[in-house]
Subunit: 354 residues, 2 copies
């Protein structure tokens, strides 16, 4: 493997000194880029794009050609694991993900297989290998997975949900069935992420998009417990270097202490949490990634720069900050505004790293 | 007006001694009740039900005939105010609220009138008067409004939204237009709630359903600032008794201190916040209302009782707790489960009030 030329992202996650604050954007390979739309049209549909290692590699690299980002993230979907378990993932036009065979009964859970990452998920591993090769050590490659709780919400609801009626019904009326499902998902995610790490991912991130829909006690029992199990099962060193793990629970700002106690290296923050408060609470244990509202990118370059300055100042001097948006970049954002954002982080941050 | 026979709810909001913890449910008059569905079918559609004082009164009283609830809440919608401003509210089958004439430009905001509560919103005032008369002092009547920020999201988006793209675009690219809108809404809500209080509402609640979509700084500037303005403008005494004000920001668990500093009497909590933490943080300033996950009502009577016990214990002994769900009751909940919930609060709470 090529030597890593820019390791700011990995160093910041381990709270080691850097010259400037590293920056990347969730969903940086996405629909706000015309070249992404063109490649996606070429692939046919979203899952065809994920399944084609060459095209998945191409869209992963597209934002890096435009902006001096400090990390690449594997182009894929969080629902590849349940799809590999046989649930039949498809995307309805304008409606988001759907499963042909959602989980309805305990026996559905009992029959779920644990996918082999090099078999049913081999297309993801191939994409990771292709991207690492094409990156030639320019920046590190981030692998990722959905959290067990978040995957389970889609598997039980059959797709996206607002009120989570079905899975909450399971949680309160049949909790042991849900635990069995989450346990199988945790085992599957450990294999999946370790597969990505062996294939070349240099850091991994767990996306817990829907943990914030739970009470604090339920979050610890049904989401965090399984993320903790995953952290415990991950390869933490590869190619002679530590592989940092980032946990991100959207809406989890009240539970940062418990998240930091899992042994992860970093926490992703959505924009509802003040990063200064977060650093006071858990900055001695973990690095922090975030946390600009992606909608700020609708503002003028001056407005974007002002928000970047505010967040840099809130985190303050010293190590342990990876700049990012608090959620994925919106598809309506002009690419030039994303460029202003990335440039502002690099231009305004050196004084915090002396 | 008849003398109030059960004033636990009002007393608890003012942190005065009570015999048992008072309890009511957000959306207690709603689709989980077959008698509600029958009355709504009689009315024709949802807004026709809101506009008919007799039928709105009837559905307000329905849950009180089933359960020994400690408060009634006016049956209405949070979007009556923007409708009265001329935006043309309608409900699309299964899609939620829609406005025929959403706010698009600054001149739309400039032209918005401030509705007269006894004119354009006279049907709400008539419903309040009818309910007070029919209640005959059994329990207090709660009036309510949406918060300016929450109303503005629907007015600018044209209906419900997941990502709030249009209003966030306004917030970051044209903040002074948004401030003008929020200011007009705050003035309108003061008149509207004071109208409800004069018509007989004995407490009022501000629902900020979408404040949690903001950053902390934006929440203070674009949502809390205008709720504070409303609190300052409200009649705080009527019929010789204090009229308590409750603020509820869904997803606002990180901002309770700032909310409590507005001079309101109580804060509503969603289920993501631990009520023990909330009491430690702001219990010396305000009462707390909440905060059971409404999905717990999918569980068995034993499971429901266990959760009620956990929340009573978390709040602990002493005054200042109004039991409620952390959000509206789901329409799929069996009415008997709501009955178990209300009974459990009354049965398990006396030991906390000695």
């Amino acid at each position: 493997m090529s030597e890593l030329k820019n390791d700011r992202y990995l160093r910041a996650l381990l709270r080691q000194p850097v010259d400037v604050t590293p920056v990347w954007m969730m969903r940086q390979a996405g629909r706000y880029l015309p070249e992404y739309k063109a490649t996606r049209a070429e692939a046919g549909d979203f899952m065809a794009l994920c399944r084609n290692a060459d095209l998945a590699c191409e869209v992963t690299l597209q934002p890096l050609r435009r902006f001096p980002l400090d990390a690449a993230i594997l182009f894929s979907d969080i629902l590849t694991v349940p799809d590999a378990m046989g649930l039949g993932l498809w995307f309805e036009q304008g409606e988001g993900p759907r499963f042909a065979r959602p989980i309805q009964h305990r026996r559905d859970v009992e029959q779920l297989p644990i996918p082999d990452p090099e078999q049913e998920l081999g297309y993801v591993m191939n994409a990771v290998r292709a991207i690492r090769q094409r990156l030639q050590g320019a920046v590190p490659l981030i692998g990722f997975s959905g959290s067990p709780w978040t995957l389970a919400t889609y598997m039980v609801e059959g797709g996206s949900s607002k009120a989570f009626n079905k899975i909450k019904q399971m949680l309160y009326a049949e909790p042991e069935t849900l635990h069995l499902l989450l346990d199988k998902l945790a085992d599957s995610v450990v294999l999946y992420l370790n597969g990505q790490i062996r294939a070349g991912a240099q850091a991994v991130m767990l996306f817990d998009t829907w943990g914030g829909a739970l009470t604090g006690a339920d979050y610890r029992e049904f989401s965090l417990h399984y993320m903790h199990k995953i952290v415990d099962g991950l390869l933490r060193e590869q190619e002679g270097r530590r592989v940092p793990v980032t946990l991100f629970t959207k809406g989890g700002g009240q539970w940062l202490e418990a998240m930091a106690a899992t042994g992860c290296d970093a926490l992703g923050l959505d924009w509802s949490t003040d990063i200064a408060d977060a650093r006071r609470r858990v900055g001695d244990k973990v690095a922090l990634q975030g946390n600009m509202d992606p909608s700020v990118l609708y503002g003028s370059p001056a407005r974007i720069e002002r928000e970047v300055a505010t967040i840099l100042d809130a985190f303050g001097p010293g190590e342990g900050h990876v700049f990012n948006l608090g959620h994925g970049i919106h598809q309506e954002v002009p690419p030039a505004h994303a460029g202003h954002f990335v440039a502002a982080v690099h231009r305004l941050s050196p004084s915090y790293h002396r």
